[in-house]
């Protein structure tokens, strides 16, 4: 590491913001890729890889990606749930790598739900 100047301390902190967000919380958006057996079989792993690639390329530090089990609609896997703070969650189904990349750019970054891919907007209720 080269000799640091005072500005560098702030720069390094910013560069590591993504890791801090992951460990400390305070994220703006969370994307859950459903990875039950059905999701995995339908290619959820590739969805996750494409998503992580987009996050990395964009340089955003307040978005986290995580996994959870089957979302209950196995025929529409791979699926992902997007939760942006102060917005209702949105579920997307029948994903492809291209679709998740577009969702990342337009929904997560741009803030516009892509209705043609969306399955549900808002949490499903139990009754």
């Amino acid at each position: 590491m080269a000799r640091l100047k005072i500005e560098d301390l702030q720069r390094i902190k910013e560069e590591h913001k993504a890791a801090s967000t992951l460990r400390e919380g305070g994220f703006r958006a969370k994307i859950t890729v459903h990875m039950g057996t059905c999701g995995l079989a339908a290619g959820a792993r590739n969805i996750m890889s494409a998503l992580l690639d987009e996050i990395e390329k964009s340089g955003v530090t307040d978005v986290i990606a995580t996994t959870s089990g089957c979302a209950g609609l196995c025929s529409r896997e791979p699926m992902a749930t997007i939760e942006i703070i102060n917005n209702p969650p949105v579920k997307y189904g029948s994903l492809t790598e291209d679709k998740i990349r577009r969702i990342f750019k337009e929904h997560i970054i741009g803030g516009n739900v892509i209705e043609e891919y969306a399955l549900v907007i808002g949490s499903e209720t139990a009754y």
Partner: protein, 610 residues
Amino acid sequence: MQKYRANLMMCAGTGCVACGALKIKDALKAELKARHLEDEIQIVLTGCNGFCSNGPIMAVFPDGIFYQKLKPEDIPLLVEEHLLKGRPVEKFMYQEPDKKTKVPAMKDIPFFNLQVLRALRNKGMIDPEKIEDYIARDGYQAAAKALLHMTSEEIVKEIKDSGIRGRGGAGFPTGLKWEFCSKVKSDIKYILCNGDEGDPGAFMDRSVMEADPHVVLEGMIIGAKAIGAKMGYIYVRAEYPLAVKRLQIAIDQAKEAGLLGENILDSGFSLNIEIYEGAGAFVCGEETALMRSIEGKRGMPRPRPPFPAVKGLWDKPTVLNNVETFANIPPIILNGADWFRSLGTEKSTGTKVFALTGAVNNIGLIEVPMGIPLRTIIYDIGGGIKNNRKFKAVQLGGPSGGCIPESLLDTPVDYESINATGAIVGSGGMVVMDDSNCMVGMAKFFLEFTAEESCGKCPPCRVGTKVMLDMLTDISEGRGKEGDMEVLKDLSADIINTSLCGLGQTAPNPVLTTIKYFRDEYESHIKDKWCKAGVCKTLTTFYIDETLCKGCGLCLRACPKGAITGEKKQPHKIDNELCVKCRSCYVACPVKFGAVKIGPGNMAVGAESK
């Protein structure tokens, strides 16, 4: 930067490493690779997480799930279920004693959520071998502020206003110490860090040095600027190899980054820091002895004054502070004295780290606001007494401290209140004892330690501790006499008043407090030749109460000497000729029967059930 979707914070503190954390890490690495998850999920080795009794420990972020007592064979399931499919695995989670449900999130476990992390704020959150991780959590911002925007007087004032007192044991106000030294004129001054941590059972400072070594350096940089020192030493015992290694890595990284060495951050201020490895003598933690030791001489204390602030290392003005004291300095500079005072009491501000151990369910490292009652620490954070036994005493301050009984459990943990009990806050050792501990034996244990560690320079300590130890040995072996307690108290007063350094001045405390609060135990040892806890072997006879024995055979199977006989469902019997008084039968007998009893040492064989 590589984007990960999850971080596995794997505790690699000494405790977890000892119980196999590195094997878990290898298993995780292999499993992540096998499932092609290595680019998505990062393993981070952290310093001590604190919940040492439950290691190996791993926290998974962003979910904040806490896993404990992991075994290599658990890893494939954990990776598949949680890390792949997102379903946290209950069976590796924490369960509160006496409760049926698992607690998935670290923030919901009482052991963690009653703590306030300041000195330990980075524990488990950073890789201690990466300076970037430290900087990412505001590291070196306080040093930058102190070096570029504050005068020496302003730093001293902030620290004085914060009210922080030294965490190494004596509780001397840090700001005052810095002020004395800053006013002494000298072109050479030294700043020293005390990482000797000689109290048996204490591991607060080790954990800070292992988990967050840069915070020690940053605290020292700020202190150096305050007093005007250009050279610093960290005195660490060689028995702390991991702390030494991580501190050295931190020093090398800080030098390379220009945070140590010449003209730090272009401020014009320069400081070098070196590690000095001590050989692990308790007395070398005493400030004047520590300085002699760094000079390469035999570590022995000398009379004060002159105080080290005037004449310290190589007779130059010197400030010595404890590891935890330094760890508290950067946030004070960043957030201000009022922020620091917002926790704690009027005279004991901020938080204190304790090594909680002994008969409690949750053993480990905790940081709590000063002023918290002992009861909260032991019953809420500590999860109460293990195996449903009865609380007897809590020992604070190690060999310089004392025992506090049940009746004083609501005492707030601050310097004045704890001193009033006869114990001391000390450096943070907190040993909880239940009814199976003998208080005379406990006092003897610490006296053995101080008598052994006394450097021998002054007779009150050298001879006095030995005489006291001999008396305690006599009492615990049945040679105690009427009046012994008075002699012990007299001797204690003399040793306290006439010893040269803190070692002798505090060595009698464990004896004095046990006499004060557990006088009846001394009396039964001296008069009845009976150690009711069954610890002092000469003063104990184990026997079985035939009216209570159900003949379950547990004691019989537990006895290593075959001293117990009896038919199934018939009362058993202990042959006292064969019995070696190992307590196995006493421990094995179910609490609901309580048939194995402890009688006095000279109890006639065969008279047990009278």
